[in-house]
């Protein structure tokens, strides 16, 4: 009797906890009737990617502050302010999925902006768009996503890989090697590099992909040295891959390098010891070093609001741009109803004073036209502007036969889907 009674007590305790849990779950207050426009953002504020993504929240906060200080936006017959709800995705893909649901159902967000990496983007984006809410991704991406509710403020390979490699081939010669991380983004960049080589007369002598975590590069360095390319194309991601640079330096591999994943996100020229990145060429859409009044003014505003920032990177700029573009669209639509706002966005919303230079969202593409710049990292890790690559229009979706204003297929296209480019993807 004693034993069974005793067990009973233990059980009761465990149950009490469970009851408490149910109570806690149901006690969370439901969202009140909306008097604000809700902007919900999910970014990596802790974990591996926090160094890159935290500045994105600076861009959001600055844009929201500017809009609200100017009085807000008139929608649905009332002047409303923007309410910024910001979550920490903890560099964890599953967390993005969960927090995206929180944004959609709990906060009843009018727009969700989330994700740095492709995996984070897809986890959040799939959840947001299947519930018919507008989604933005605000740093460089591989492009080609044709979805009614998804918009992209950052540069795509059409603005980075194509014009920059054209310049590189002209400057250095046609022979190149490609090494990249083995995942979606770099695989897509690899395809775009093939397209660039095909269009501008380049020749890819070596193309290899590496899993994350590879940190010993001597055998690859030997291979590249044997090929003796005119320049190297890199898509190396993460701290282990970055160990390529000091190892290449020690092994005397000094061939110029080109990479679109370095500097613009992680400001590596500030974080690595010089001269390990010397002779690296990068094509950012925005970084602090981009010339122009708008660029200087933006960096100054960010620094005034967040004095601790080490370097104002593309995340800050395109986060800011996306919020401003949404503000324009809400103003134009006069409502926050998704379909009307999408129509407004698709009417080519334009921001002439964007930090990186005049930025225009192309309605038929859901991607933007913007200027990009080719920089070179010198021996002391200063950035030298080599040339302005000019404003490049996104046309890829049109090329594969998609007009977003008419019908969105709801999938991602890669260069190999373009019939005109088939010959570039045949095995050598």
């Amino acid at each position: 009797m004693i034993t069974s009674l005793y067990r009973l007590k233990c059980a009761g305790a465990a149950l009490a906890c469970a009851l408490g849990f149910v109570g806690a779950l149901t006690a969370t207050p439901a969202a009140a009737a909306k008097s604000d426009i809700v902007l919900c953002t999910i970014d990596d504020l802790s974990g591996d990617f926090s160094l890159m993504s935290t500045p994105k929240t600076y861009g959001y906060k600055l844009a929201v502050k500017e809009i609200n200080d100017a009085g807000g936006i008139k929608v649905d017959g009332a002047v409303k302010k923007i309410k910024l709800v910001s979550y920490d995705g903890q560099s964890d893909v599953k967390r993005y999925q969960e927090l995206a649901q929180r944004c959609v159902f709990n906060d009843e967000a009018d727009v969700v902006m989330a994700g740095y990496t492709g995996a984070e983007r897809e986890a959040a984006r799939k959840e947001v768009v299947r519930n018919k809410v507008i989604y933005w991704h605000n740093n460089q991406g591989e492009g080609g996503i044709a979805d009614k509710y998804s918009f992209f403020s950052g540069p795509t390979p059409e603005q980075q890989v194509l014009p920059a490699l054209k310049a590189m081939i002209k400057e250095m010669g046609p022979r190149m090697t490609f090494i990249g991380a083995d995942y979606n983004f770099c695989r897509a960049i690899g395809q775009w590099v093939r397209v660039a080589a095909g269009l501008y007369g380049g020749k890819i002598e070596m193309e290899e992909y590496f899993p994350f975590g590879v940190s010993q590069w001597q055998s690859t360095i030997d291979k590249i040295k044997r090929v003796k390319p005119d320049f190297q194309v890199h898509c190396l991601v993460g701290a282990e891959h970055a160990q390529f640079y000091p190892q290449a330096q020690a092994a005397g591999l000094v061939t110029p390098m080109w990479s679109n994943v370095t500097i613009s996100d992680g400001y590596e020229h500030k974080r690595f010891a010089p001269p390990s990145l010397a002779n690296m060429y990068v094509p950012p859409g925005y970084i602090e070093d981009v010339p122009g009044e708008a660029s200087k003014a933006f960096a100054t505003k960010i620094r005034a609001m967040f004095p601790d920032v080490v370097y104002v990177n593309e995340h800050a700029a395109f986060g800011y741009v996306a919020v401003k573009a949404m503000a324009e669209a809400w103003k134009k639509a006069g409502t926050t109803a998704p379909d009307a706002v999408i129509k407004a966005l698709e009417s080519d919303v334009s921001l002439p004073d964007a930090p990186g230079g005049p930025w225009t969202l192309r309605g038929s593409q859901h991607h933007a036209a913007m200027p990009t710049y080719l920089f070179k990292v010198d021996d002391k890790h200063q950035l030298q502007l080599i040339t302005e690559l000019g404003v490049n229009e996104p046309t890829f979706l049109t090329d594969v036969g998609v007009d977003m204003t008419k019908k969105a297929p709801g999938r991602q296209f890669l260069p190999s889907d373009n019939p005109k480019w088939q010959s570039y993807f045949k095995a050598p």
Binding site: Y209, F210, G213, Q216, S219, A239, E240, P246, R271, S276
Partner: protein, 296 residues
């Protein structure tokens, strides 16, 4: 000259891979085999070492002094962690895994909050040498040598010092050791501190080849742990060396014959196979064979 260079390159890569596994694993195996603690925070101790070394370097200290300071800093952190938390988890492999995972979150996120995305780096010293068309960094050979010195040092401590004797006694039979008047608590504390210091030194050495962030160490922990476990606990130091020899060999061969991707996968597959064939690690397997041979 081309062939000579190629052969040197293979040998160099082998030493590089081997040194990497030894350095990452040396502090971990000490704590694992002596105390029965899986220290998931080992990478964070390496990170502390890296930050200390880089700060000291920028304050004007010579590289060697910076490395020694890194060892002291991480060792001190280790002793603090041991006193606060680890002493409740001796010989509880799995509970210690969970609790040290928590500690690693606290240290890495705490560092992120404290130092923010501050800029930390340290150039790779010592330049390079070349054979034919191939050139090699000298520093990575120094890392290999340092790994050997550290392992030799640990072995010497255990073989010839009083602390070593007491530690061995504690490892064999803690209750008996206590009965004989050994302060096992102190032995454990010093062992953990020593393991942490070794991690700190390794972190400082890696710091000169990598960028440093609060998450710097996390990438080393899983591979280091796999090496340690493949090595086995029968004679930890030798086991680590065997496992390093074996895994580095597989990696060097496969990554040159195929590519780095195959090399990376092969290391995992090799660890998998080794565990199936030698269920308690390489050193245990060899020890048993030796015993059987002598019995015969």
């Amino acid at each position: 000259m081309e062939t000579a260079g190629q052969i040197v390159s293979w040998i160099y890569q082998y030493f590089d891979n081997f040194g990497f596994l030894l350095l990452a694993g040396v502090g971990l195996i000490l704590i694992y085999s002596m105390m029965g603690v899986i220290n998931m925070a080992h990478g964070e101790l390496m990170m502390i070492g890296a930050y200390v070394a880089v700060s000291a370097f920028h304050a004007g200290a010579p590289v060697l002094v910076a490395i020694v300071l890194a060892g002291l800093g991480a060792g001190l952190a280790g002793v603090i962690i041991e006193q606060l938390v680890i002493r409740h988890f001796y010989n509880q492999l799995l509970s210690s895994l969970v609790v040290t995972w928590g500690i690693s979150l606290i240290i890495s996120q705490g560092t992120l909050l404290l130092l923010g995305p501050s800029v930390m780096n340290m150039p790779t010293p010592l330049g390079s040498f070349s054979v034919g068309p191939f050139a090699f960094g000298v520093y990575r050979l120094v890392m290999f040598a340092a790994a050997l010195v550290l392992i030799g040092g640990v072995w010497a401590i255990f073989r010839w010092t009083r602390l070593g004797e007491r530690a061995q006694a504690t490892m064999e039979n803690p209750a008996m050791a206590r009965a004989l008047g050994i302060d096992t608590r102190r032995v454990y504390m010093l062992t953990f501190g020593l393991g942490a210091a070794l991690g700190g030194i390794a972190g400082a050495m890696f710091a000169m080849t990598a960028t440093i962030s609060p998450f710097f160490g996390q990438n080393y922990t899983p591979m280091a742990f796999i090496t340690v476990v493949v090595g086995g606990g029968a004679s930890p130091i030798l086991g680590l060396a065997y496992a390093g020899l074996y895994l580095a060999g597989v990696q060097t061969i496969t990554s040159n014959v195929f590519n780095e991707y195959v090399g990376y996968v092969s290391v995992m597959a090799a660890a998998f196979l080794a565990l199936l064939v030698m269920p308690s690690g390489i050193s245990d397997f060899l020890e048993r064979r030796r015993t059987r041979a002598t019995q015969r």
